[in-house]
Subunit: 111 residues, 2 copies
């Protein structure tokens, strides 16, 4: 049951997910669960099975590193930290995003 619109909505979210992750981590380091919380607060529904592989991908691309930290209430947390390369890529993502926004504006308001 496809609900066209929900599908489109989730497609649009997908396109900017990596951008959102890097953006969050550019402000302060964070661990997966807290990133999910922050995304949820911003109306970007993301689940664990999506986020973990994505963080690992970005780490493998050199955009992130991480360190373990003990928690007072539960297992240790893997705090991800944005790298210098990550910041460079983030800034290129800013451009890419602006470009898409312009494109949509052009297409949507043209004439």
């Amino acid at each position: 049951m496809d609900s066209t619109v929900e599908n489109v909505r989730s497609q649009m979210r997908k396109g900017v997910l990596e951008y959102c992750i890097l953006s969050i981590l550019s402000r302060k380091e964070a661990y997966a669960s807290s990133i999910i919380e922050e995304l949820k607060a911003a109306n970007m529904i993301v689940v664990e099975g999506t986020l973990y592989p994505l963080l690992i991908r970005q780490k493998n691309q050199g955009l992130l590193s991480y360190r373990w930290e003990e928690s007072t209430q539960g297992p240790p947390r893997k705090y991800y930290v944005i790298t210098e390369k990550g910041r460079e890529i983030l800034s290129e993502m800013d451009s890419a995003w602006q470009e898409i926004v312009s494109t949509i504006n052009a297409l949507r308001n043209h004439e």
Copy 2:
């Protein structure tokens, strides 16, 4: 050669492709090749193998219909026409898009 950024750029485009198609067809009917031209002009690179299945999908969802028209120079063209339902969905896509834009703004400029 993954070029992270080009990958992200294309991910972002994917997310709004259906939106762009409906948007173009909301102004006037068009056939596949002309849609590709228009998208190219707007900086959205799309190829046949992407567009045709997508048009068929949207037609099957009742967002589009089509009619054949003879061409003076080549085989007949399949002109796609947006339906009433298509216009409704397009307007919901407008909302979805605005929401994503707000989300990004919130995440990107927060603090």
